[in-house]
């Protein structure tokens, strides 16, 4: 009997240890932010919204001078025109997102009715489709222009991703994004975390890797490499190609869940997109 009780006690102890070992999203976020605070003690948390420039003082000045005449300005203007252009039915994107589209803080969010993560780019296209218009492409061009305009008008809003506790599918989507972030892929055997956590700030060929904290705040982005605007999912795909993994479909569940996780990790930071990046 004594032995049985001992076994039960050990079993319960083991169970309690395993339960505490599974961290929830908020514990994840705190550990995530603590990691960067320890790794880059000179960088204030709020500065991570500036991407690699938050940890790379040598390039910051050059980037700031680029931001004086930002290359995304034309995209914001084009996005403004598209945003207010009338659909065939007389409505416009403004009917879905308000007069200036300053709704960045609402995305990405969990759509309980459909059981999926909705990104701002998805919502833009769904608005068009709901008004009998063709959706835009998913990675660049008009989708990036409209997103740039809406993000520009949303500057200063804070990332506030919510994982509703009354829908286990939301947590599953978050966990899926989390697993994606920490899982090695491609022939080069890299996880997002390898470049953007554990070796953030290191040189890969001629490029310094950015910290993962703040990754979701500044999109869409004008990348010098692209010489045009692109969405976050375009960048996800580019990262995967870099490590010799086949990219997933933009706005598919893999990248949407990844955006959900990455954005949640940046909760509390300010949206400051669109931005210029190398």
């Amino acid at each position: 009997m004594k032995t049985i009780i001992q076994h039960l006690a050990f079993g319960l102890l083991g169970l309690s240890v395993s339960v505490t070992a599974v961290a929830g999203p908020e514990e994840d976020r705190k550990a995530f932010q603590n990691f960067y605070e320890n790794r880059f003690p000179d960088t204030p948390v709020n500065d991570y919204q500036n991407g690699v420039y938050s940890i790379l003082p040598s390039a910051r000045e050059q980037w700031q001078s680029i931001e004086e005449f930002p290359p995304y300005e034309l995209s914001v203007e084009a996005g403004e025109k598209l945003f207010h252009s009338k659909f065939a039915n007389g409505k416009s994107l403004a009917d879905c997102f308000g007069s200036n589209g300053a709704v960045r803080e609402k995305y990405p969010h969990w759509d309980k009715a459909r059981g999926m993560v909705v990104t701002m780019e998805r919502a833009i296209n769904e608005c068009r489709e709901a008004n009998a218009e063709k959706p835009y492409g998913l990675k660049k061009g008009k989708i990036a222009d409209v997103s740039a305009y809406m993000s520009f008008n949303s500057r200063g809003q804070k990332v506030n991703v919510v994982i509703p506790s009354d829908d286990s599918r939301a947590l599953a989507a978050y966990e899926d994004g989390k697993e994606h972030f920490y899982t090695k892929r491609g022939q080069l055997n890299f996880a997002c975390a390898d470049c953007h956590m554990y070796t953030a700030g290191a040189l890969y060929r001629a490029d310094t890797t950015s910290p993962g904290l703040g990754h979701a705040t500044s999109w869409p982005v004008f990348r010098s490499k692209w010489q045009e605007m692109g969405t976050l999912h375009r960048r996800f795909g580019g990262c995967h190609k870099n490590i010799r993994a086949n990219p997933f479909k933009a706005q598919g569940s893999e990248y949407s869940n990844l955006e959900y996780f990455v954005s949640y990790m940046s909760n509390g930071l300010e949206f400051n997109g669109p931005a210029a990046r190398k």
């Binding site: 961290a23 994840d28 550990a31 995530f32 603590n34 990691f35 989390k178 697993e179 920490y182 899982t183 090695k184 892929r185 491609g186 022939q187 055997n189 996880a191 975390a193 390898d194 956590m197 554990y198 190609k241 010799r244 993994a245 086949n246 997933f248 893999e254």
Partner: protein, 102 residues
């Protein structure tokens, strides 16, 4: 003499076509095998390496040009890459959580 030469020529032609045919079949089999394995791993794990796709495409291209030996070698390379992809998926499913900061 003339007949002798004809016989030799026909024999060479026959031999080469037999060798040619065998290589053709094995190359096709190797490409199909790599392609099927690639699709299966992609379906089961969502892991896909661009280099595996590239090797399969290159094998098909070599096959279409009639370079069956090269095609078979590329298909074998693709198969190894697919096997490595599968192994990566297995290892990662068991170890990714080690990278999560506590």
């Amino acid at each position: 003499m003339k007949n002798g030469l004809r016989i030799i020529a026909v024999s060479i032609a026959l031999c080469s076509s037999v060798a040619f045919g065998a290589s053709n079949i094995s190359a096709k089999k190797a490409i199909d095998g790599a392609n099927a394995a690639y699709k299966q791993v992609a379906k089961e794990t969502s892991y896909q390496w661009t280099v595996a796709v590239g090797a399969i495409k290159a094998a098909k291209k070599a096959f279409d040009k009639g370079n069956f030996t090269e095609a078979e070698a590329l298909a074998a390379k693709a198969m190894k890459l697919v096997e490595a992809t599968k192994l990566q998926a297995k290892i990662e499913s068991e170890t990714w959580q080690m990278r999560v900061p506590k």
